[in-house]
């Protein structure tokens, strides 16, 4: 277990290194002088020269990378060209919206998909099951942003139940979270259904029924609990996908999150902000994946993460 933990940490550090490398190269690979890219258009020549010196642009690429790492550790990713603020600070201001959206959708997906999947599996081939399957298929084929537009059209423009867009109270987050969670709802419902179907055929489920346990206990404790292991794996991976999907959802609903910031920064060629937001999102992604992996250890005692040689 300890060995696994160490291996997993090394793995994550490697990913962090990769993220830093890509963000570093982002500005270096863009045609033009990085110092000019990182400064406003009409920056005075001495400011350009100063930044060139600060970034070490006159030195080798390895030293530049080393200087970049030092800057990252100190939280200095430069000034936003457009907003005239510390780029990293801008990202941290936008981060809560994105995180809220991601976890809101995650919760919705969890609450809807598991019961629906379980019922669908226990009532196989009924009209309920067929409807679920059609819903799953549609949910997996719908682009998040189009669903968002349709939700706005019906719930905001036609029925006036929720606000159309923009930040605000909890009502402003209902439609975005629904739109963002749909793909995941479809995916997890399908997995729960197929997982349950498989397990309901297992011998121990038959035994449980034979010894007279109530159907609730059989399905809840024996079948669902074992399906959960499989589901949790996918759930963990999907948090990352939600994080990416949040970028588009924010744009649809005009929410001031990291996604909106990143897109605006790319449009304005505000490279310090692009760097900072890509860095923060990717690091968050690595962190989530790491935590999920560790979480498995506690969820499923059968997974020991010990390689055969160590056993």
């Amino acid at each position: 277990m300890k060995a696994y933990l160490i291996r997993r940490i090394i793995h994550s550090l490697f990913a962090v290194f990769g993220v830093l490398l890509v963000v570093f190269l982002l500005v270096r690979l863009t045609p033009g002088d990085p110092a000019l890219l990182l400064l406003p258009d009409l920056a005075p020549p001495d400011a350009v020269a100063a930044l060139r010196k600060e970034l070490g642009l006159d030195r080798s690429i390895f030293i530049q990378f080393w200087i970049f790492l030092q800057h990252v550790v100190r939280g200095n990713l430069g000034q936003s060209i457009f907003f005239r603020q510390n780029a990293l600070k801008l990202v941290f201001q936008a981060l809560p919206t994105t995180i809220f959206l991601t976890f809101g959708s995650f919760l919705i997906a969890l609450i809807i998909s598991i019961p629906v999947g379980v019922i669908s599996a226990t009532k196989r081939y009924t009209i309920y099951d067929h409807l679920t399957l059609v819903g799953v298929l549609l949910g997996q084929s719908m682009p998040t942003f189009w669903l968002g537009i349709m939700l706005i059209l019906f719930f905001a423009v036609i029925w006036h139940i929720f606000p159309t867009s923009g930040p605000g109270g909890w009502k402003h987050y209902v439609l975005p979270c629904l739109a963002l969670s749909t793909y995941m709802v479809a995916l997890v419902t399908r997995l729960t259904r197929s997982g349950m179907l498989e397990i309901l055929n297992e011998d121990y489920v038959r035994t449980a029924r034979a010894k007279g346990l109530s159907e609730r206990v059989v399905i809840g404790r024996h079948a669902l609990l074992n399906t959960m292991v499989q589901i949790v794996t996918v759930l963990g991976l999907q948090i990352g996908t939600l994080l990416g999907g949040a970028v588009i959802t924010e744009k649809v609903f005009a929410l001031p999150g990291v996604g909106t910031l990143i897109i605006k920064a790319i449009e304005l060629r505000d490279y310090p902000v692009v760097q900072a937001s890509v860095l923060v999102t990717a690091l968050l992604f690595v962190l989530i994946n790491f935590l999920v992996d560790i979480l498995y250890l506690y969820i499923d005692p059968r997974i020991s993460y010990v390689s055969p040689e160590e056993r």
Binding site: T30, P143, M150, I263
Partner: protein
């Protein structure tokens, strides 16, 4: 979803004919293409999906003949007109017009071109790259495997769309760049799956035998390994095309896809979002087009997976 027409005798015999083989299905890929095709036809979903995909391709190829108007022709006098609007010259705009007076239906028909070009080209490019790297990684192992898998890990440590945005920030927007971006971000999934398949195939007796009689690595990979990883390759490819079409539309929606005035479904949806209050049809119909196409491709993918997978058809 994956049930076949049970009443049709042809469909049940297709499965049975295959059960007589003792060898894995794909060792006999050549003889089985007919069988796979037949099983696809027996699969309701896949048939529907196939029809949708064929229609979409026909739309893209014959767009100039099918679309009633020039998709780029602007006419501010007839902007934001609703469904079924007839212009003063007596021409019918079935799906109305957009904020610049362009015909929505014509733009949807032409938009299929970008979606299909980007979807297939990026999957082709990314797929071949991933296939080669997966084969090399799985077959040779050692440091080259480590290297390739670490690159895969790093690529996967970015949320897909963020990585795509990152590369667009460097390359700028154009049709060609978009294909490159999606290929660069999409190859990893192939590399992973193909590598895993290679690892299991390479230990099989026939590979050992080929090695024993002195076949070169190149020949072993081409003749003995490749035919056995073709099935997962095609199955992933079909799902990837659907995924790439959605991502292309998303990037177009964000204003970072193929630049205007070229009509794309993503661009149209972005206009539709802006004019949602006045003209709901601009944003609704391109979305329906995307859903239909993606649904069709997914169904076809499901069918392909079932048709290729011996486990699925042997069960029934």
């Amino acid at each position: 979803m994956s049930r076949r027409k049970k009443d049709s005798p042809a469909c049940t015999t297709v499965g049975k004919a295959q059960t007589s083989h003792k060898l894995p299905l794909l060792l006999r890929l050549k003889e089985n293409i007919g069988g796979i095709f037949q099983r696809l036809l027996c699969h309701h979903g896949a048939t529907f999906g196939g029809v949708v995909v064929i229609i979409a391709f026909l739309c893209a190829i014959f767009a100039p003949f099918l679309s009633p108007f020039d998709p780029l022709e602007q006419n501010l006098a007839s902007r934001l007109k609703p469904l079924g609007w007839t212009d003063p010259d007596g021409h019918l705009h079935i799906l109305g017009t957009d904020q610049l007076g362009r015909d929505v239906l014509s733009r949807i028909v032409f938009g299929s071109r970008v979606s299909l070009i980007v979807g297939t080209a990026s999957v082709l490019l990314g797929g071949i790259l991933g296939l080669i790297l997966g084969l090399v990684s799985g077959y040779f192992g050692k440091w080259i495997d480590d290297l390739i898998m670490r690159i895969v890990d790093i690529t996967l440590s970015f949320p897909f769309i963020i990585l795509a945005l990152c590369i667009i920030a460097i390359l700028g927007t154009s049709l060609f760049n978009l294909i490159i971006v999606l290929a660069i971000t999409g190859w990893v999934i192939y590399a992973r799956v193909i590598r895993a398949s290679v690892l299991s195939v390479k230990e099989m007796d026939f590979v050992q035998a080929a090695r024993a009689i002195g076949a070169s690595n190149f020949k072993i990979i081409l003749r003995h390994i490749l035919p056995n990883v073709v099935a997962p390759f095609f199955v992933i490819s079909s799902f990837q095309v659907a995924r790439m079409i959605i991502i292309e539309a998303s990037l177009g929606f964000l204003g970072l896809g193929v630049p205007p005035p070229i009509p794309t479904w993503g661009n149209m949806l972005s206009d539709g979002r802006e004019y949602l209050q006045e003209a709901w049809w601009i944003g609704t119909f391109p979305g329906i087009a995307i859903v239909l196409l993606v649904l069709g491709i997914n169904l076809l993918g499901d069918g392909l997976r079932d048709a290729f997978d011996p486990k699925t058809y042997l069960k029934e």
